[in-house]
């Protein structure tokens, strides 16, 4: 960008610096080497900001402290505070300190919109950030667009990339469900079986899995033997297991919520040792210790992880710095309480998103709200983020059109009540053509 601060090292990739092909190529090359370079291009190179410099950049953190997302919210908050501390210790954003302004949204879309309003008009923050649950994102986004305040979500939903939202909403550092399924389906069908039964919650999150897994099966010449939707009110699951066809080679489950442990226990009771292969999404077990009673049945099954919970799963320098800064031990639990298990496959998105905001602030020369247009156009010019301390989960490709990133995924096997990473996808595995173009919307 012309007239912007020039930096010797950047974590971000602009249009002039990288092409999609080169990103895929690079990723594939290092992936082949086994371990991605983790600290080659780190943005933390500045000295501390000068005393008496500008006022802090205030970031409104829409946090799920209460409600159904409270487990995630607790770790999102810890990660956010750790990232802000790290950024402030290393020069802040554009030389200005970062100040996090948290507000609990109760994991409720109704309250979410109020919180966005409060951030913009009462706290007068520069940006709003950090929302996880997709219905809260949907409920909050219209108000962010009306107030014309940049809103960075860490949600995993397909809502941003689908074009349903507006130009002020970005999801730069966590991949969406569609991309995740696309990335992993090839491995699942080739290694676990081509006759799949889907078990998913009977609402939007589950439907995303149903639809994209079905599309992936068609693409890979596999077959969906049955699609079992479980009502959100279900508390017993045995009758659903009875509907699983006998020719099923692999079960794909994405159950979430308080019934998960019962679901797993009853699945174990139903199948015993004579079970098909089983593949699940880590969402079921975020914040849950694998050695919890009733989870023995999961040994030998497979899970998607966005970022390996156990330290030996992806031991890069950036990952170590990140894990240490947030206060997570080698088993994915809090250093101060080994029973307090983290939501490791999601919370990295908070850390990375703050660094992405930092890049946008610095590259656009953002000073205050009058620079929103410039900041958004700068962000839309990003093509990806390099792996390192700022992006410990791995490199990202970013689409300015859809405001959504693409990244690598991990498949882990449960062995001795512990996750062992058995496969890592490339960014290209999860890539799909953007289906919307937010840059055409007015600012």
């Amino acid at each position: 960008m012309e007239g912007k601060e020039k930096k010797p090292e950047q974590s971000v990739k602009n249009k002039s610096q990288i092409s999609r092909r080169s990103l895929f190529g690079t990723t594939a090359a290092v992936a082949g080497a086994g371990v991605l370079a983790s600290n080659l291009t780190d943005p933390i190179v500045r000295s501390a900001y000068a005393a008496g410099s500008d006022a802090p950049i205030r970031i409104g953190f829409q946090v799920h402290r209460t409600g159904i997302g409270a487990t995630y919210g607790k770790w999102y908050e810890r990660t956010t505070n750790a990232a802000a501390k790290y950024i402030n210790e290393h020069g802040g954003m554009g030389g200005r300190p970062v100040e996090i302004v948290p507000e609990d949204d109760g994991t409720d879309p109704k309250r979410g919109a109020d919180v966005v309003e409060k951030f913009a008009t009462q706290h007068k923050v520069d940006f709003v950030y950090g929302t996880l649950f997709s219905h809260v994102v949907m409920g909050s986004s219209p108000r962010a667009g009306e107030l014309k305040i940049p809103y960075f979500v860490v949600s995993e939903g397909y809502h941003v990339a689908s074009g349903a939202l507006n130009r002020y909403v970005f999801q730069p550092c966590i991949t969406d469900v569609r991309s995740q399924i696309s990335a992993m389906s090839g491995w699942i069908f080739n290694n676990l079986g081509k006759k799949m039964t889907l078990i998913y919650p009977d609402y939007a999150f589950g439907y995303n899995h149903r639809d994209y897994a079905s599309a992936a099966a068609e693409k890979h010449g596999a077959k969906i033997s049955a699609k079992l939707a479980i009502p959100p009110t279900a508390s017993s699951f045995t009758r659903y297991f009875a509907k699983i066809p006998k020719d099923t080679e692999v079960i794909y489950h994405v159950m979430v919520g308080p019934g998960v442990l019962t679901f797993v226990r009853e699945m174990g009771e139903h199948f015993g040792s004579n079970r098909p292969e089983i593949f699940g999404f880590i969402d079921s077990l975020e914040g849950v210790a694998l050695d919890s009673p009733g989870l023995d049945f999961l040994n030998g099954t497979y899970f998607w992880e966005a970022m390996p919970r156990y330290a030996d799963g992806y031991p890069t320098h950036g990952e170590k710095v990140y894990r240490n800064a947030v206060g997570v031990d080698a088993n994915g639990a809090s250093k101060s309480d080994s029973k307090d298990v983290s939501t490791y496959s999601h919370m990295f998105g908070c850390w990375e998103t703050l660094f992405a905001i930092k890049e946008a602030v610095e590259q656009s020369g953002y000073r205050d709200k009058r620079d929103y247009a410039n900041l958004i156009e700068t962000f839309e010019g990003f093509q990806g983020f390099n792996e390192g301390i700022a992006h410990p989960q791995g490199s990202k490709m970013f689409s300015g059109k859809s405001h959504q990133c693409y990244g690598q995924q991990f498949i882990s096997k449960v062995e001795n009540s512990k996750f062992d990473v058995v496969h890592r996808t490339s960014i290209e595995d999860g890539y799909y053509e953007p289906e919307t173009d937010y840059t055409k919307l007015p600012l």
């Binding site: 402290r65 209460t66 507000e103 609990d104 109760g106 409720d108 879309p109 109704k110 309250r111 919109a113 109020d114 309003e117 409060k118 008009t121 009462q122 997709s134 219905h135 949907m138 409920g139 986004s141 219209p142 108000r143 667009g145 009306e146 939903g157 809502h159 349903a164 939202l165 507006n166 009977d202 609402y203 939007a204 999150f205 439907y207 009502p231 959100p232 009110t233």
Partner: protein
């Protein structure tokens, strides 16, 4: 029986409406927007209050009316490209239909059975929203930001998201609900409803068909709640299943209990206090619902008739 004073009542209502109208020029941006929302939600609570406060029927499924209005309006805009006013009409029409049909079934029960039947129908509507996700987009819902055309009146065009328009539309809705409620309670129909609340058997003995009166109350209550849902969809651009959940049925009950059951201004007071109570306390602690709950318990013990009910009992016996 309270001593009615139509003149004092009219002055009070006009004063409240004038105050709410003038506040838009004084309030800071955040509270300006918050008051818009409070007025819409208070209209919902006023619809609820017609059933609980004036007819003596406690519903635990009122979110179904609010969400029926919201979804009928939202889907008309989102899927069928209707503009705001026709979509609003569709929303109200659908709610009238749903509340009347529900009334035909649920009013054959009373007391706790009525509570349970409305709760079950409310849950059925909520689960239907999840089930027909191709139209409703499931739990996530949908936004109307891109689909909703501005309101055109003559040569003027108004965006539904404009803060001034939003405030005045919410004020108009509230004023309409307030006028309807006040007319109802001084009308012969309203008198019969209050008689049903006090003693249904005696009202029947006087020759009134209480079933029909209750059906009317149910339909009007549902229509006002649905209207509030429709307006909410248009002004706040979001339609989601959260508005059909059980919590959203309990909310107007709490607002009305807090403000004063069977008072016309109680729902506004209760909605406003509850909203700000949550807003302030959530900034101090994540256990804010504990504080809110404790305050509600104390209130129920100290003033079971609600705040406006207390005012009526102690100071203004003519308060409607």
């Amino acid at each position: 029986m309270n001593r009615r004073s139509p003149k004092k009542t009219a002055v009070l209502m006009a004063g409240v409406l004038l105050l709410l109208f003038v506040l838009q020029f004084i309030l800071p941006a955040y509270h300006h927007s918050t008051f818009s929302k409070i007025m819409v939600l208070a209209s919902y609570a006023m619809g609820f209050n017609i059933l609980l406060g004036y007819t003596g029927l406690m519903s635990l499924g009122h979110a179904m009316f609010f969400s029926t209005g919201m979804y009928a309006t939202g889907i008309s805009v989102y899927h069928f490209g209707y503009t705001g006013i026709p979509a609003l009409g569709i929303g109200v029409l659908c709610t009238v239909l749903v509340s009347m049909l529900l009334g035909l079934v649920a009013l054959r029960t009373s007391g706790v059975s009525f509570l349970i039947v409305t709760l079950m129908f409310g849950q059925a509507v909520f689960l239907s929203i999840l089930y027909f996700d191709q139209f409703t987009l499931g739990q996530d819902g949908f936004t109307l930001t891109k689909e909703l055309e501005p309101l055109v009146l003559g040569n003027a065009s108004y965006s539904y998201t404009d803060p001034t328009f939003k405030y005045n539309a919410a004020w108009f809705l509230f004023a309409l609900s307030l006028v309807i409620t006040n007319i109802l309670i001084i009308s012969p129909i309203g008198r019969v409803l209050i008689a049903i609340r006090e003693n249904e058997e005696r009202t029947q003995m006087l020759g009134y068909n209480t079933y029909l009166y209750k059906l009317f109350a149910m339909t009007l209550s549902g229509a006002l709640s649905g209207l509030a849902g429709s307006v909410h969809a248009l002004l706040f651009s979001y339609v989601g299943a959260t508005f059909a959940e059980i919590h959203h049925s309990i909310a107007p009950l709490l607002w009305t209990l807090l403000g004063g059951v069977g008072t016309t201004l109680g729902p506004l007071l209760g909605t406003g206090i509850m909203h700000y109570l949550i807003d302030f306390t959530s900034g101090w602690t994540s256990a804010y619902l504990l504080i809110v709950g404790a305050i509600l318990v104390l209130l129920v013990i100290g003033a079971p008739q609600g705040l406006m009910g207390l005012v009526r009992q102690k100071r203004l016996p003519w308060l409607p």
